[in-house]
Amino acid sequence: MDQIVIQTLHGLVNGMVLAMVASGLTLIFGIMDIVNFAHGDLLMLGAFVGATVLGMTGSYWLALLGAAIVIAILGALLQVTTLRPLIGRDPLTTILATFGVSLVVQKYALWQWGPSVRQISEPVHGDFNLFYLQYPWYRIVTALLAGLIITALWLFLKYGKYGIWIRATTQDRVMAQAMGIPVPLVYTAVFAIGSGMAAASGVLFGPFAGVTQTMGFDFTLRAFIVVVVGGMGNLGGSILASIFVSLLESYAAIMVSPAQAVIVSFVVLVLTMLFRPTGLFVPTPK
């Protein structure tokens, strides 16, 4: 029984972090039609930058902020140099290009930080007691923080002036340009925001399992899965899907090893694509 409660908590917490990764990916896909294969690797790079900042300053919050800013700038540079020349080409070429970026980023991290696992110490200590169960506080804090960041993104998109620019570009690229919105700049900004979110989720995830240069691929794959399950380009859907998939994986991990539990989310993805390719958490199109 208590194992089920613990796995539920694990699933919810992992789901919130995954939701943050996926919302960055969704933002980039929904607005730019780019499937960012390097998303998980930017997350990994962010986690390493965070670990380095943490080592220098000792402050987790500075690490979180620093990683997000550094990777956002890197994301903007990447967009300008590799993705901007591909605008107007087949969307598949952007998968190939971001795949190239992912190779370079991954090997750069290996070169810079080596193959060993880096630890990010938890920002909040102590355990949380619920009747007879113990659960570490920092996981709860992490989930809340992820929720806060996603809410901030949503509010920004909904009410912020630049958020409205971004939504206008999604709806009608040509009209937005005609209205004086600098569309190329919006693209760059969106890619930067998405990358920054990835980096921040990397730092948030860091204390759970440590930071390695191979963690990126796993996140890319999971983020893809939840984005498709939730409905491509649909922010609310991908958040629900993240929690749903993470919960399923947590429960599966009770019965089989965590390595095999991943298959559950693959199966969910395949079933979704077969029976409801528009996504599980979107209203049925009429």
Binding site: I95, L103, L110, L274, P277
Partner: protein
């Protein structure tokens, strides 16, 4: 009158040029490698095997317009299929290894084709990636049968042709064997891509809704294309398993699929020869760069790859595309 004469003469001139070049390249591949030092001889054989794998993927990427990020599954199942034949049947038989490998890869490709072809573009790419990861996880964790992380090791079969003649493989005979398989596969795939079936595939690449509107059952064509592609990928897996005498889960992992896509993009999609050139280019880059930068060679190679996507989207042999397909 004279106009038609020219238009029929032109392809014939192309064809003679093409077959002359083909004969020269094949002759060079027969004669030159045995004269090279052992390391480079093995290297050329390896390029042929990886090229075969990349060519199988070209049926999808270049001719049908579907990017597969899951070719490692077919390749890996070919390896494990060959391993199963070589470990269970005594004495190890070359033909059985080929048969088992092809059956394993074929079975997997039927499964993947059935599900993945219902999806298009990016969704197809992601679903093939996910399927290959499913097989990777199964192979990696099912230690009793697949040997898990360590994989399986076995002995090389003898080279026997229908019981007429039997001999131990030397590096040279193995190279010739691989070359024979690769050349036959190339000719077969080339014939298929030029057949009416191949024309339908290319029409799907150019305009899928229109192909459907003309009355072709697009899904069926796609399923057959994925199966064909999977079979040839499995064949490459069998050859690679025989060359290295092992099967390992690393070859089912996504990295192999990624490399296959890189070979295609670098060499030129939709040419069938391009993937071989891409494999040669990539492996040469890796060989020369990893001498002094070990595994970081992927940093410059990745940058070259991105630059090629932006400035040379047709790949190294893209300028020959028309000639290679006529």
């Amino acid at each position: 009158m004279s106009a038609t004469a020219i238009s029929t003469a032109q392809p014939r001139a192309h064809a003679t040029g093409y077959w002359t070049a083909f004969a020269i390249v094949v002759a060079a591949l027969v004669v030159v490698p045995p004269m090279l030092p052992p390391f480079w001889q093995r290297f050329v054989t390896e390029i042929l095997i990886w090229g075969l794998l990349a060519m199988s993927s070209d049926i999808l990427i270049g001719y049908t317009g579907m990017v597969s990020f899951g070719h490692s599954a077919f390749f890996g199942l070919g390896m494990y299929g060959a391993a199963a034949a070589l470990l269970t049947v005594k004495p190890p038989s070359l033909l059985l290894a080929l048969l088992y490998g092809l059956v394993a890869a074929g079975a997997v490709s039927v499964f993947v084709a059935f599900f993945a072809t219902r999806l298009r573009d990016i969704y197809f790419a992601i679903s093939t990636l996910v399927f290959s990861q499913i097989f990777y996880v199964i192979i990696f964790t099912w230690t009793d049968v697949t040997g898990g992380e360590n994989g399986l090791t076995f002995r090389q079969p003898r080279l026997s042709i229908l019981g007429l003649w039997s001999d131990v493989f030397t590096p040279t005979t193995f190279h010739w064997f691989v070359l024979t398989v690769v050349v036959l596969s190339y000719l077969l795939v080339r014939r298929i891509t030029q057949s009416p079936f191949g024309m339908v595939l290319q029409s799907i690449r150019e305009n899928e809704p229109r192909t459907r509107a003309i009355g072709y059952h697009v899904e069926r064509y796609k399923i057959v294309a994925v199966m064909l592609s999977g079979l040839f990928a499995g064949l490459a897996g069998v050859l690679y398993a025989m060359q290295n005498k092992f099967a390992a889960p690393d070859f089912v992992f996504f990295v192999v699929s990624g490399e296959v896509v890189i070979f295609n993009v670098m060499g030129g999609m939709g040419t069938l020869v391009g993937p071989f050139a891409g494999a040669a280019f990539f492996l040469l880059l890796r060989e020369s760069l990893s001498r002094f930068m070990t595994e970081y060679y992927l940093i410059p190679v990745g940058i070259i790859f991105i630059i090629m996507i932006i400035f040379l989207p047709q790949g190294l042999l893209g300028f020959l595309r028309r000639r290679l397909n006529s």
